[in-house]
């Protein structure tokens, strides 16, 4: 069963790739945006996206059967699920607005999320007692669905910015856009580097003392740029160039920091290569592709995504989370960092709604806010586990 499951996930990945391809064929840089082939390829792209979603749903169900619990209990499973919910969010918003441009960007971002997810250990893991709760499944899936839909507001906002930010001169805005592009490319870098060193079978070990003062071994799968705090290198592998500061306390924080540095470096190389080939800013190169997309519609979509996603997020990430916490830990709220960041996400989107409704923050301002919102969501998914300690650092 678990083989079927991973095959299905793999197929979903490939199908999403095709969907991205079809959607990009639908973009026309000619004057008439209503060309027949635009409609045709858009339709093909959408059907493909739905097929990919079905395959991934198959993965989810078969893995559930194989493990006996909802597959949202470790980082691999949760992040994959988040990617799947992004696709679902896309499907919902595409059905309302039928904008092909959205697909060209939403599918690759979802692909990145899933590729990123698959770099984590994929073993089916048993549930510790605190996680054995139906409310946990309900909480995690609903929260991920909300986040997936909110992510679409980012995608739509991003296209809006690519389309409207003036690229003829270099400004703060063009720089920030490039930083976003660079961050996305770094995820690609991360995947490539991880696959490369995994393929080569690279390993290098350190010994450190844990909290109980017993020696434990940490095995790096990437050459150590950042070594563990107070660790002894056990072999003659590369590095480390410096030690992880000891206040980073998440599980395996040093290894995650090391991976993070590798992602930034490889992202840098990839980004540089792209710039060399394109001979202009990445967002400037993309701008010509999306100039026919209706910017008002993009603004509307990104707002609508927040309007749909916000209640679902509140329900899943706060209310269901509280019900579960009350049951598992006897208190519905414990100010655990992950909880606090869910609250921050909630407050941020509440502020977004108020600014938009009452202070007229539309268009570009609203699009930048959506970018920040997505940053907060990914920060909570990744960095909170990396640098902050807490109940959720199991993941």
């Amino acid at each position: 069963m678990s083989e079927i499951s991973s095959t299905l996930l793999y197929s979903a990945f490939i199908i999403y790739l095709f969907s991205t391809l079809f959607f990009s064929m639908s973009l026309s840089d000619k004057k008439s945006s209503e060309a027949a082939y635009t409609k045709k390829w858009g339709k093909v792209g959408f059907i493909t996206a739905c097929a990919g979603f079905a395959a991934q749903l198959g993965y989810f169900i078969t893995r559930w059967i194989a493990s006996g619990h909802a597959p949202v209990s470790n980082l691999f499973e949760f992040t994959t699920f988040f990617g799947m919910m992004m696709v679902l969010g896309f499907i919902v918003l595409y059905s309302i607005y039928r904008t092909n441009g959205l697909g060209v960007f939403a599918m690759p971002v979802a692909l990145l999320v899933i590729a990123y997810a698959s770099m984590f250990p994929k073993d089916i893991s048993p549930l510790i007692p605190a996680l054995q709760s139906d409310w946990l499944k309900i909480h995690v899936t609903t929260a991920a669905l909300g986040e997936g839909i909110l992510a679409i507001s980012f995608v739509s906002g991003l296209i809006y910015l690519i389309r409207t930010v003036d690229q003829t001169v270099s400004t703060k805005k063009t720089k920030w856009l490039e930083i976003i592009m660079y961050s996305l490319i770094s995820v690609v870098g991360f995947v490539i580097i991880s696959l490369a060193f995994k393929g080569a079978g690279y390993e290098s070990s350190f010994e450190v003392m844990n909290k109980q003062n017993q020696p434990v071994k940490i095995v790096y799968e990437l050459p150590a740029i950042a070594g563990p705090a107070n660790g002894d290198h056990l072999d003659r592998g590369f590095g480390p160039l410096f030690n992880t500061p000891s206040w980073m306390q998440g599980v395996n924080a040093s290894m995650k920091l090391n991976t993070f540095i590798w992602s930034l470096l490889s992202g840098f190389v990839l980004y540089g290569l792209l710039r060399l080939v394109l001979r202009k800013r990445i967002s400037a190169a993309l701008q010509t592709k999306v100039k026919n997309v209706n910017s008002e519609l993009l603004d509307e979509i990104s707002y609508r995504a927040v309007a749909i996603g916000f209640p679902i997020f509140s329900l899943g990430a706060l209310i269901f989370a509280m019900i579960w916490a009350q049951q598992a830990w006897s208190r519905f709220w414990g100010w655990d960092p992950k909880e606090v960041w869910a609250l921050i996400t909630f407050l941020f989107y509440a502020a977004y709604l108020h600014l938009r409704l009452s202070r007229g923050w539309h268009g570009e301002k609203s699009a930048w806010l959506c970018v920040v919102g997505f940053w907060i969501i990914t920060f909570n998914l990744i960095a909170v586990n990396l640098v902050l300690v807490g109940l959720h650092s199991y993941a």
Binding site: E300, S314, I319, R331, H362
Partner: protein, 535 residues
Amino acid sequence: METIVCECGHSNPYGTSLCQACGKPLENDVEVLTSMRYEGSARRSQVYKKTIVDQVWNFFSSVKVGVWLIITILVAAAIGTIFPQVTFIPPNVDPATHYETEYGTLGKIYYLLGFHNLYGSWWFIVLLGLLGLSLIIASLDRGIPLYKALKTQRVTRHNKFLENQRLFSVSKEADLEEIKYTLGSLRYKVREENGNLFAEKGRFSRWGAYVNHVGLIIFLTGAMLRFFPGMYVDEIVWVREGETTSIPGTKDDNGQYYLRNNDFILEKYDKKDKKFNSALNSVEGDVAKNYQSNVTLFKSNKGTVIGEKGKLEKIKDGVIRVNEPLKFDSFALYQTDFKLDELNKMSFNLEDKTSGKSFGKLTVDLHEPETKYDLGNGYKVEILDYYPNFILNDQDEPATVNNLPDNPAFVFAMYSPQKPQGEKAFVGIMKNIDSGDNTLKMSFAGLETKDLTALTVKKDLTLWIIALGGFIFMIGVTQGLYWNYRRIWIKQNQGEVWAAAHTNKNWYGLKKDLEFLTEKTELTPLEDRVNSSEK
């Protein structure tokens, strides 16, 4: 203040800018479209600006202030996650020094500003209070006048009101019945008056924001009620297997609850389990599968003196697991911690030191040891000193750390018919020291251990208020964000037919309705007079 009487005959409260009934701008410089947000109603904050009360009201009713409050709380919460909160640092350290030694100067500043205990700090609670105040004032300021205006609105609207709407068209003629029918099929509620139509859909959604704010206020109130005595109990109780203990926090005039721990169970995943094999082998140590206490709940009768266990009445047997608390009355018991194999009883043989011949066996209850044990035939043992958790103190004298029998040690006096004056020995784990000329010896003869379970005793009478607040909040956001309030006006005006439309959000959806309407009828398609902005 005096009311304003419109030409349509309706009298409006002072400060109204669009007549509640017909929508006529009541002053010359009124921007109809922007006033539509609150129907041009007379909001206190827009009308009264003189006294201090006015100014406080206006301050808190401002969305700008509201957003600043939200952002301030957000930023404070984010800073509060940089270093662990005081509840997450080791229990035995002093926070005043801990933050500085662990995190340097930044840690010290963090501590001094109170970020280490953010959610208990007075300024964070004040911020939440201000947020609540702002929510109440902003909602009253808008909600009430809006409600009155929407209730009073008439079918026939003033020309100025219609022609200044964002979506508007003039048609030569149109079949009213056809329009009515089409609007009905789009599930609009249509009213007719003198040959004019007013169609509306989803008015309830206009209350969404107010409903969700009410939910938030109830939620915040619930969270604050926790600080009132009697609303909240949070205790921890340790119970040994086989023992019955009173449950702290559960005493009232009708007696008190007691709990017996029948058995504590710890289950681990089998490393050889096929399903989880590789995940289990990638971690060191075992992975827990279940923490469980099998318990029996008792209640003492009225007037029972504490410690008098004879009069306990059994209430029920129960199982407590993580995620499955045991509930009774307004209390719940949660599996929180445990301690395995605490020493409970120790047995010794009294032996002849050289031949090893036994003269009898005794068992010491490590929690309530007896002082004398008579083994018969003139053999006796006395406990002169007992150190449950033995250490040598600074002066190299035997002492005990606490009352937990983690490392028990005894000074025994042993008596035999031959030595009625007794012989002394110091006996502990792996220790047996005497003066050297003893004839008798206490030899270790077995050990009994027991598990302990730790349960959190919780009573939280605020829970239902918080749940209610959350529930109302969810209704409110859904109602306000998944629906919207669309209105379409049709007016017969000197041989022409005027059509205008408005929605509080989702103009895209409204335009789709209008496209359908103008396709099915002879109405001229409505023109959008605002190109960008205002969605």
